[in-house]
Assembly symmetry: C2
Homo-oligomer: 172 residues x 2
């Protein structure tokens, strides 16, 4: 297995599941006569970020992490999404971006230094493996799981299986 | 970097953070005159699991995952925790269990098959790397993040930094 296998497929799996739960959330809004903005702006607590921002951040952590590990230009997004369709488009663009990476770009990346912002005026440097496992994954999964939790809390009929997404079933 | 580096430290980091947020939750209960059982039984939605069970499951996914990857006996727990102290003890036991693993036990484990239960009467087989990234991590981080979300939702004064825990800062 290569370091690529530890990164891109993991992000793609959860981005796919986020796309799925947003679709279910949109259908839920239509069925219940709920304004989409209400769900898109829903938070678990006033000092937490709303659903739309959780999705944007999950996309960011997926795309930027892979860029940093492959040592290519880090993409940025305007964060202007205003609807479920916009957010699904953001996910689709992130998926497309991730799928363009080649396994070769991650060769040896686990041992290479990655320097990344860790606050307004600070940056940290970690080995690629540590950056992935100690910074990128916890952040990525946090925002994905909180997005899921916001929808559950608002009564959208989803379960943990919707979070896990498509796990490749092989009996090799 | 070894496959061990992708597993044990990642779990330990978040288990440490869960221990920290449970301590803050207990202090919050004392300060506000809240019965601990209320928070331990809190859920984001009636069909979701309560805080105590989220912590137990995070511990399970950490310990059992490492056991399966190292191909040693899979530990089981009675899930009898009734207090914050009990849950912190459960985390401490899991931490102790994880710390006993040696990097050698994970050598080549990314390419070895892992067979694990995927429902009451079904099991799945994946390569170790896929099992970790597509099954174990999403489940582990899900329960950890939802535990965090439950506490946030109930007004405990924690933030994402408490979720991330101690990230090793090196400028090598």
């Amino acid at each position: 297995m290569s370091f690529y296998d530890a990164t891109v497929p993991a992000f793609l799996q959860i981005l796919g599941s986020l796309n799925g739960i947003l679709s279910k959330a949109e259908i839920h809004c239509e069925a219940k006569g709920i304004q989409p903005d209400v769900l898109l702006g829903a938070r678990l607590y006033p000092d937490m970020l709303p659903l739309s921002r959780q999705i944007q951040l999950a996309c960011d952590f997926a795309g930027k992490t892979c860029a940093r590990l492959a040592h290519v230009d880090v993409p940025s997004a305007a964060d202007t999404e205003k609807s479920f369709a916009d957010l699904r488009q953001r996910i689709a663009k992130t998926v497309e971006y991730l799928k363009a990476f080649k396994p070769e770009q991650f060769e040896g990346a686990d041992r290479k230094d990655v320097t990344f912002p860790a606050g307004p005026n600070t940056s940290l440097t970690l080995k690629g493996q540590e950056f992935l496992n100690r910074m990128a994954f916890p952040n990525f999964y946090f925002h994905a799981a909180i997005a899921h939790g916001i929808l559950r809390h608002n009564g959208v009929d989803i379960g943990k299986r919707d979070f896990l997404g498509d796990i490749p079933i092989k009996t090799s």
